[in-house]
């Protein structure tokens, strides 16, 4: 991204850049299981998240900046998730939606389930629930937008140990 992530930007410019980024998040919907149904319900007319600027029609990972993993991740599917995450350009954010992707959920003792998506990719927001209500996803997106608004890209990419603590949305 050139200069933007190497230099600590002055506050007015940082504000404008972050304002642009947080209100136009293109989401790559990695819908795996039941939580994908609640994700689709959140994008529909009743609990619309398109009004928050989150557009669910990214054509692929290369045109997206938010990845919402909703549903159980199995060991067979995990390489595909890693590959698609790597294909997304920076800066990118991950919301882990539902308890299966947070920590394995009701399948915590299964031999074929990855116990939590954070074993493979770094997560920014955890939304707990089985499945979480659409309002919980809206809350998670708003928290993420707040975090992006106050973010400094230099801190995120250059400073060592800079990845901030992930947000856990309380139910």
């Amino acid at each position: 991204m050139g200069l933007v992530d190497k230099v600590e930007l002055p506050q007015p410019i940082k504000f404008v850049f972050n304002w642009g980024r947080r209100y136009s998040l293109w989401v790559f919907n990695f819908g795996l299981a039941c939580c994908a149904i609640e994700f689709i319900a959140t994008s529909m007319a009743r609990h619309d998240f398109i009004r928050l600027g989150v557009i669910p029609f990214a054509h692929g990972p290369r045109q997206a900046d938010l990845l919402v993993v909703s549903g159980t991740l199995t060991d067979k599917m995990a390489p595909a998730l890693k590959r698609l995450y790597d294909e997304m350009p920076e800066p990118k954010y991950v919301i882990s939606f539902g308890s299966c992707s947070n920590c394995g959920g009701p399948y915590w003792d299964s031999y074929s389930v990855t116990k939590g998506v954070d074993q493979i990719i770094p997560v920014d927001v955890y939304v707990p629930g089985c499945p979480p209500r659409p309002e919980a996803l809206l809350h998670g997106i708003l928290e993420l937008q707040k975090r992006i608004g106050s973010e400094s890209l230099k801190q995120r990419y250059i400073d060592a140990g800079s990845r901030p603590e992930p947000i856990v949305v309380d139910a």
Binding site: F30, G31, L32, A33, C34, A36, I37, E38, I40, A41, M44, A45, R46, G71, T72, T74, K76, M77, A80, L84, P106, Y107, D109, S110, Y111, S112, V113, C130, P131, R133
Partner: protein
Amino acid sequence: MSISIDQQLGGTTFQSADGTGVGIIVHDKADQELRTADMTLNVGPQHPATHGVLRVIVTLDGERIESAEPVIGYMHRSFEKLAEYRDYRQIIALVNRHDWVSSVCNELGVALLVEKQMGLEVPERATWIRMLMAEWTRILNHLMFVGSYPLELGAITPMFYAFREREEIQALMEWITGGRLHLTYCRVGGLKQDLPRGALDMSRSLVPRLRERIDEYETLVLGNEIFHARAKGVGVLPPGVACSYGASGPILQASGVAEDSRKTEPYCFYDQVEFDVPVGTNGDSYDRFAILLARMRESLKLIEQIHERIPAGPISVKLPKVVKAPEGTAYVRTENPLGQLSYYLVSHGEKTPWRLKMRTASFNNVSVLPYLLQGSMLSDMIAIMGSVFFIVGDIDR
């Protein structure tokens, strides 16, 4: 020209029959005809058009599909092994999550199975309410596919309409059980809790609204000429093949076989109510979709009849502190919205099952895909795959 053509091109010449000219047959250096190669295309597992994580490896000859092999297992969460470590209440909570758009219908099978093995007599009120919830869940499930199948064919509007209906029915489900998607309402011996005040009135007021909306879907989708062109005659499944594969539900009924567990082997009180089993004639994608709408109408008819029949009474049987199924085997078959869902239990008398086999509708339905896709065009692939109405959690369990 001083050099003759055949010497330049290295081919053989022949005189055309009417004497008008000379033809040349050309061979390349290796004296072979020009050949094309088949292409192998990988669809999925992450793909916007497949419902969830289903991967299909398609071998193409131009636009025509020579063979299609579905690769499943990306959602295999090992339910059958986990069931051996969980007691029956935990199994009911877990089993909701397999066919994740029809929650109560999954649980109903497990509850009936354990009650059969234990010889429990479920109170009437509980059985009628179970049927009511099962029919509303059936409509929820079919609405999902009524919304997503036209989306795959290019029509975006039915999706929004279908989800509007789903939200209204889910509000009713939430009023009764507290959950939107995974209800965990059935218990061994009855139900979790009684119907709250106003639930039956809410349910009664929803029925006429749903009815007029289904009419709307019929005119919007079934009458559309683009839908006709894309779905009629596409993916024809003969009835003998469908039975041999073990296909069930709308797919089997569209092929002409009227096999519905609610009619042929009634469970709960399905023999005391009147409804029809709609059957298709051609077995193509259009019929499969039309059957969904017809089944929704039958479910509404059933719901109206159930409203009149719910008696007062207890909601569940008093159970011992620890629920143990006696030794032996049991089998129960129910009609899930997607098809036939059966459970087979082997119990050694403990509070966890020894073996619980879940035979889901989508597993057998998706195994028909190689037969349906062979010989069709690539552009019909999505129309055929979408018309098989599967849920990936149901395939892989």
